[in-house]
Symmetry: C2
Subunit: 429 residues, 2 copies
Amino acid sequence: MKAEIIAVGSELLTPDRVDTNSLFLTEELNKLGIEVVRKTIVGDDRQLLADAFRGALQRVELVIASGGLGPTEDDLTRETLAELLGRHLRRDDAIVRAIEARFRSFGREMPRINVRQAMVPEGAEALDNPRGTAPGLWLEDAGRMLALLPGPPRELKPMFLEQIVPRLMRRVSGVRMFHRELRVAGMGESHVEQLIAPIYKRYADVNTTVLAAPGEVQIHLRLWTADARHAEKTLGEITAGLQLALGERIFTTRGESLEAVVAQLLTLNNATIAAAESCTGGLLAQRLTSLAGSSAYFLGGVVCYSNELKTAWVDVPAETIQAKGAVSSEVAVALAEGIRRSAGSTLGLGITGIAGPGGGSEEKPVGTVHIGLAGPAGVKARALLFPGDREAIRWQASQIALDMVRVHFLYGGPAPGSLQASGQEPGRG
Amino acid sequence: MKAEIIAVGSELLTPDRVDTNSLFLTEELNKLGIEVVRKTIVGDDRQLLADAFRGALQRVELVIASGGLGPTEDDLTRETLAELLGRHLRRDDAIVRAIEARFRSFGREMPRINVRQAMVPEGAEALDNPRGTAPGLWLEDAGRMLALLPGPPRELKPMFLEQIVPRLMRRVSGVRMFHRELRVAGMGESHVEQLIAPIYKRYADVNTTVLAAPGEVQIHLRLWTADARHAEKTLGEITAGLQLALGERIFTTRGESLEAVVAQLLTLNNATIAAAESCTGGLLAQRLTSLAGSSAYFLGGVVCYSNELKTAWVDVPAETIQAKGAVSSEVAVALAEGIRRSAGSTLGLGITGIAGPGGGSEEKPVGTVHIGLAGPAGVKARALLFPGDREAIRWQASQIALDMVRVHFLYGGPAPGSLQASGQEPGRG
């Protein structure tokens, strides 16, 4: 089955807003084996709206529209559609009572204007909206199906899942979409593509998308089939192939974030962590504490921008800073060891670098970052050179730091004295 | 003049990707006085593509399309359009040579397949693409204008600005869009709307949009006119009216971020700042250091999750934690004073709270946050209760903390002993 999505609302035609409901709708439709072949975004204009619905109903069996169901005169979806299909609008008193009750629950009286939301085209079914005043509509016409949903995501999503999905389930064939998401840190998109293309291209029935996200590459595998065993087998095979090609660079085959993977590893190993940051300015601590329950493994962190505070707060020897510079492997290691000692954690991370745009030199250009990871068995350091702007450099630095923690647990921790200070690795982007 | 935007590419119909080129294009078209009335997103399918172009050319004078100009067989925009308009495709040898030169500059030979990119419909003008292989196309047909641009933003944006804007400039009337953006922290969307609607509704020619962003409300004023003086006068009047209605809650009338405003105030006042965070986990430090040059005012920060580290690192008295609890005004104040002392900064911020989802109680529910701001003249504390999930609570807490710094400078700093510990303020959101 093929579908089109129509997003209604003049605010979606400004430079400030993008329609994101269609991403959720596409994902859910795909799961049912329904393909989205076109999306249209149109303002609150009767003629343009009619044109959009007319075109979509000519092309596909299923049209999902969002927005334009509010109580004001701008909201034209209901009227336009009734007119287009030649159906009268009738007032549904049960809906009026439901809207009145909703207003009463806030201690307010229903404004007369909201009666418009109770108008239902003949033959349409109104869809209950417990989270807002605008009911949705479900309508069948000449073999076409049409769903009108409210625009706010917190109203649209449950209405779609609870009231549209069951209606579609009865009509779709057994074909569903099976999806797997692998993520890779510390490699560029084209490098990943080059290594994996020979593998995934052997599977003509699997749709593979390689997306570059900040500091990582995401590989989406999608297979449309009615045969769940075939899907599991095929996706399992490709995944195994990609794991051979990319090895430890794959940090998840389940679409998790890097911080979630690191959190699991820390918890599993009963380990705690602390961080001393300079150029990332708190980003690493923020990511380590972004998940619920992070107090179980994250003890604390410091952000020390100035040399004085690096010494005062984390005991980085002033002589080391003087001899090697604040941006050096030695200082990254001292930060990692210092914060580990001070917090009493299993692991300590130290980051120092030049996020720019200022502060770079020929010897240490903008993007130079040193990361240290101290553990019970010793300390490891990496030197990197990241491309991009300040935000991109900070994000990539935090990404590699988290990845060092992940790799640490893969190999059971670094050997003592494995400090690498032998020049910079190439940038990873 | 009215325009439609067509984004071409099957990847834009997956659940992972949203078309963002149209936001940039809309902004730039609006500046020229051109209104975008519809956006269409369509896959790499000859019939669906032809249908999209045919419809748009029937409705509007200007059609801007992005994507589908690559060298592979999926890329159909060029062929489809030539066929639709009944124009032959001719190979442009100058383009072939330009693509060959581009490949040579990377030390590679041009694959034969790229010759497709040199095919130009009769009567169309090829648009140079110094940043990629796909040239753009400009085409006029029966009073309609059509621009085909490459999909990657770094190729599309300069091509549009350098080659499309000048062509449009010659054709548009003097009407342009004038835009002003005000931002408000610490108030909800509906509250702002209620206070300002009576003001902006008096200006029928100004399009006003109120958008809720995390922890702030953005007010966009847009006026389409040929008369720059009228625009400045009108937008200035509304801005003044909104300032009367919202007072100090407006933190910018120029669309800046709250961290940028705080950075300016710190710099202007030759002040430095440090932060001690618990529930925000480094987010506040990260935001304070997100701008270039932040080392001039941000000295350092600590993230102390555990009670022990609050005492060890920031000298929060263990008795205070025991008597009042880690989430209390007293601890927020002690964090603020402690970090100020330890970093030697002009101002110190302390945040403690319950970001959830666990850790709440009847007395201190999830969303409870205490913020302290210590300065030379004393200390101020606020108690808040934020709605939303972990991420929303942390963001709103950092937002109010930054806003306290801003308000501090508005009034030249808090009076000594102005500690407010008299119960929670209502949640702001």
